[in-house]
Symmetry: C2
């Protein structure tokens, strides 16, 4: 598939050009046009992504555990493909090859339903993928594209319980909500991340500053970026002036609680709404808390159960934070930005789940499998 | 909770008596009245069930795996409660204590929505449970009953994504379908079992007969009972007369394909419908197949992906069957009846899932948990 993508770069770029022109005519946002636009480098990047997936170990067939019962039955739990996965996503042609690669590598067939703005690009890409598959033992229909991008067709796909085993929506909050609301097929929600960094009373403040700067500014538009900084009152006067000045110098708009603003008057006043907001931008909410408990309560109330970090040197506080914060990934003394399939060592990911069922955190190849029990007997009856 | 149940036996039986009388007036089936009716022995049994659950190891807090990344981050995956579980079930008061016990033991709160016919029994049981919890550190509201048993309230419960993390329907196909159709909260389907036993050309026929007799007759009304017997043509003339005669003597009605009936004329003719049917009764469909492949295709087409068994002495056939049959539990030389939390060594179960996400097979305490990543750093940034 990677080779075919590169070889057929021209036909894909030609189709992409049509999509980009249509999008321009519709006055869609520059960010969206940027995500939509392909060029030879981006196609080479998509091909590289596929090669990396191909190089990963095959998750299918792994026996996670096997035990013997007193009656002699040997019971094993083996990873098997889920079956048919429906991907519902926005106008990002790179998701098309990513999803195809990850689903095939984990033994699944995939039905792709990308955003209408990328339909010509997606058609060209899936045509190339099918041609690549035609020369292999994998059925060419293992990767299919829903060419009708109407809302009705998408809704129909979401109700095909007999044919589709799992839906993975990937995109903004509106898309995900629509899938959760309309689907009868099981869904893994890939999530919004309203992530926090909490600077404890006993924190290494230099480390804390590095971590919040990294968590906020290394890539603000992604879901594992920090959106709110919580600072224990005991260190607020020491920590806030330096850290917030550094953030401000990096172009971050600061919105603080009253106590924060008393220390750092340049911060705008934060409203209740700010605590709930995933800015995905160079904006950070800042709140001074009086205790670790207040920090944990704030996170569990306003957070989206994605990635949460404490900076502390205190053993008990680290332990309490790890146990009591309800999120897919809870960090001590590290940036929230590590919540990622690659950084976790999974090799690749199809998204990050912040729902609790089946997959929580990065969705790698293992999360794209299910299991079956294989049972070896010698005539046992009950 | 177990002690309180036994101590308050009288008040529960009094409430149950009201339900049973109301049910009799409504002319519901005898089987349903039997499931609804409590007596001191049944209440003692419910209390014993709770004691057994209490004695199981706590699944919460277990770190399934932990690894170190090249940057020094230590990443562990720890079991944590799911949160709030909604149980939707029929008029079986014993499910009330079972579900409460399993959900609490796995650290979850539970909202119970039992069948309207058992509402007085359920109110009495949940009152007793709350009284028992009042003397502990567990909030008494951790076990709640939906007292309004209207359909509207049930549908509302199924859409409370903000408050309910998981729905588990337990009951007949109609109930499960209604939940899957109406719910926006994630659902684990507990399943119908159209299970097969396949007698291979190279089977120990004596073993095969014992297995099909056990799988069909030891408890026909449960989901892991066999519904169809597949017999390889090479052994059909030797196997069918004896096995079917034994089954018939045990009161099993036999419905066979033409080849079966040519060998065992007492069998009624099976229709296409029979291959799809979960009888849950003393009825067995029987089909002669020409090959292992035909057996596997039949199972994958008509089965419900629950429990499937091959009887064979052939290594390659055993392996092929294990790999190619798509089901929660696939057996070689053992009865399908072992698909059960207790028999698998899980101690207890809340049902058997034949969906593929999160839990496949018996849903024990571990399946009632999710995980979170706990990450130990020393100042890592990305």
């Amino acid at each position: 598939m990677a080779d075919f993508l590169v070889q057929n770069c021209d036909s894909i770029l030609e189709a992409n050009q049509v999509d980009v022109e249509n999008a321009r005519k519709k006055n869609v946002s520059r960010a969206m046009i940027d995500r939509l636009t392909l060029n030879p480098e981006r196609i080479a990047g998509m091909a590289d992504g596929l090669r990396q997936i191909a190089a990963l170990p095959d998750p299918v067939g792994e026996v996670i555990s096997m035990w013997k019962r007193p009656n002699g039955l040997q019971i094993g739990q083996q990873r098997v493909p889920i079956g048919v996965i429906g991907m519902v996503y926005e106008a990002r042609p790179n998701v098309t090859t990513d999803a195809a690669g990850l689903c095939l590598k984990s033994g699944n067939a995939v039905i792709l339903r990308g955003g209408s703005e990328a339909i010509n690009s997606n058609k060209a890409i899936v045509k190339v993928i099918s041609e690549a598959l035609a020369g292999t033992d994998v059925p060419e229909d293992a990767v299919q594209l829903v060419e009708d991008t109407s809302r009705e067709t998408a809704t129909e796909l979401m109700k095909l319980n007999k044919y589709v085993d799992l839906l993975i929506p990937r995109g903004g909050a509106g898309l995900i909500e629509a899938v959760v609301k309309n689907a009868t097929v099981p869904v893994i929600e890939t999530g919004t991340g309203n992530c926090h960094v909490y600077i404890d009373s006993d924190a290494d403040l230099e480390m804390g500053e590095k971590i919040i700067i990294n968590a906020k500014t290394s890539r603000p538009a992604v879901c594992n970026a920090a959106e709110t900084l919580l600072v224990h009152a005991a260190v607020a006067e020491k920590f806030i002036p330096s850290a917030l000045a550094s953030l401000k110098n990096l172009g971050v708009e600061l919105r603080g609680c009253e106590k924060t603003r008393a220390i750092f008057p340049d911060a705008l006043p934060a409203t209740e709404e700010d605590w709930y907001t995933e800015y995905l931008d160079y904006i950070l909410a800042v709140k001074v808390v009086d205790s670790l408990e207040e920090a944990i309560d704030h996170i569990n109330k306003y957070g989206t159960k994605h990635s949460e970090a404490i900076v502390t040197r205190n053993y008990d506080n680290a332990r309490k934070f790890l146990q009591e914060v309800d999120a897919a990934a809870v960090y001590v003394n590290a940036s929230t930005r590590f919540t990622d399939g690659g950084e976790f060592g999974f090799g690749a990911e199809i998204g990050i789940s912040n729902q609790k069922l089946h997959a929580r955190g990065p969705i790698g190849l293992r999360e794209l499998t299910t299991t079956k029990y294989i049972i070896f007997g010698s005539g046992q009856i009950r």
